[in-house]
């Protein structure tokens, strides 16, 4: 059952490491490119949506809120939303789809901007929740004081349990990292484009076992804009609209990285199950996959969550060559966050849309008509199924 909503344009700034460029410059560049892609002008934009909104809990994690962006870009909107507490980085896109489907707006500019690379210092690391605060509250107050400070620790212990139950090895994760790098070599916007061999992967330093350096995504400075339009308004845009066939979200277990009864599953499993309830389409209908890869281990979780293979079967599914270049279910064809840079899911969706419009030069999946996107790791997750008719 298709929603009355579609993606009509995407744009990404020139992302990089230690760019020194202000977040708003990145955002404006991404917005200009997204409007060009959609064939719209700034006067057409009447909604704005982001994740998480302006936040200072981790350096450079979210320097811009909707208000500042409206002011800076001179937008006149009748719908705005920032979602710090929703179904993952997908939340602003889901909110936008619901806004256009219910007539709150016609064209919503959804954005994600980060300056984590430039903001990171020796004492203020990006991605450490509560960094610099005197006292901590919330779910991470049970992790950070125990020195479980980084999401790499939390993902690391998920991976340990998954390896233990299903016999996955570092080589399987290495196939994800090297496969995505092979894609990135055909993506001029990826931040990591030099070849990556299995030997390089296995020889890199350990971060939090069993996850090493190349299992972790790359902090960057950059912005990405995705325009979500009402289905009738989308018909006037420059490209074929990418219909939002279905979405899914869930917070089925506790808001926590350690309490879920089975840590070989995560929020992704709940969100994916919700999505498939709302469509006749099935995994076999999907051509392109955009799966959250803040850490490589999330890729097998998302593959299993969406049902591309059974629980515990991802290692064989990956080893059989399904997800890399030339595979039947190519994952993160722009290099993902592991090689492309951490745009918190927006970059993955940007790439999926580029594939559906047939413009992924050098890495194009022939005849790609449908894409699935899963964002989030740990307890939060959101999913979206896109269709080009």
């Amino acid at each position: 059952m298709t929603l009355n909503a579609a993606i009509t344009g995407v744009g990404m700034s020139d992302i990089g490491r230690k760019t020194g460029r202000p977040a708003m410059v990145h955002l404006a560049e991404a917005a200009r490119r997204a409007l060009e892609c959609a064939g719209l002008t700034k006067e057409d934009i009447d909604g704005i949506s982001t994740y998480p909104g302006k936040a200072d809990n981790s350096p450079g994690m979210s320097p811009l809120g909707t208000g500042e962006v409206r002011n800076a870009l001179g937008l006149k909107t009748r719908w705005h939303s920032a979602v710090p507490d929703g179904p993952s980085q997908m939340a602003p896109l889901m909110v936008a789809a619901m806004a256009v489907a219910t007539g709150q707006a016609r064209h919503v500019l959804c954005f994600r901007a980060l300056t984590e690379s430039s903001s990171q210092t020796a004492t203020q690391r990006a991605s450490i929740p509560g960094a610099g605060r005197a006292r901590l509250g919330g779910w991470y107050s049970y992790l950070v004081p125990a020195n479980a400070m980084s999401a790499s620790n939390w993902a690391g212990w998920m991976a340990t349990r998954y390896f233990h139950e299903f016999g996955m090895t570092r080589e399987h994760l290495g196939m994800i990292a090297t496969g995505q790098r092979a894609f990135a070599q055909h993506n001029p916007t990826a931040v990591m484009q030099s070849p990556l061999t299995m030997e390089d992967y296995l020889g890199a330093r350990m971060i939090s076992s069993p996850l090493g350096l190349f299992d972790c995504d790359v902090p960057i400075d950059g912005a990405c804009v995705i325009i979500v339009s009402a289905a009738d308004a989308a018909k006037d845009c420059a490209r074929p609209p990418l219909a939002i066939e279905a979405m899914g979200a869930a917070l089925g277990s506790q808001e926590s990285w350690d309490q879920r009864a089975d840590l070989t599953t995560m929020g992704a499993h709940d969100a994916a199950a919700e999505m498939w309830k709302r469509t006749e389409m099935r995994p076999a209908d999907v051509d392109v996959l955009a799966l959250y890869d803040g850490f490589s281990i999330f890729v097998p979780y998302w593959l299993e969550a969406f049902g591309f293979c059974g629980h515990g079967e991802a290692k064989d599914f990956i080893a059989e060559g399904n997800i890399g270049p030339g595979g039947r279910f190519p994952v993160n064809t722009g290099g993902g966050q592991l090689s492309g840079g951490r745009l918190h899911g927006f970059g993955l969706l940007h790439e999926a849309c580029t594939q559906l419009w047939g413009q992924a030069d050098g890495r194009q999946v022939e005849g790609a008509k449908t894409a699935v996107c899963g964002m989030g790791g740990g307890f939060i997750a959101g999913s979206m199924l896109l269709r080009r008719d």
């Binding site: 509250g137 950070v144 125990a146 479980a148 690391g156």
Partner: protein
């Protein structure tokens, strides 16, 4: 400097029980549900009769990771972090900083026991091998 938790009515027993050498877990007095992280209301039956009780202070490693990256200035690495299923509190796990053990020796299924590190008004539970 290690970040510390903010003390609240529901979590004070958990973070200060170590002063008496006790690992305190919240339980519902009405339905006996073990609640972690601690809450003021029982998530299962919505009773407001939540009380903290000492549990044996032992548990079993459900999973673990060995951290090699210094995330804060002065952080000594490597060290092991475990997720421990707590004895006497069904369904409750804690994230456990492992001490007094070779980080590489930690294994799924291993039995651990709690020890406490006092900093200011907080007694952080940490975990060492039971044998």
């Amino acid at each position: 400097m290690r970040p510390l938790p903010e003390l609240t009515p529901e979590n004070t027993a958990f973070w200060t029980g170590g002063a008496e050498g006790k690992l305190m877990i919240a339980f519902c007095a009405d339905c006996r549900h073990a609640i972690h992280p601690p809450q003021l209301i029982c998530p299962k039956c919505w009773s407001d009769k939540v009380e903290s009780r000492a549990v044996p202070g032992t548990g079993t490693v459900y999973t673990y990771t060995v951290n090699h990256q210094p995330w804060a200035p002065g952080m000594a690495v490597p060290f092991a972090l475990a997720v421990v299923d707590i004895d006497g509190a069904p369904g409750v796990r804690v994230t456990a900083e492992v001490v007094n053990a070779d980080p590489e020796s930690v294994a799924i299924g291993q039995t651990m026991k709690v020890v406490f590190l006092n900093i200011d008004d907080i007694w952080l539970p940490r975990w060492e091998p039971a044998q």
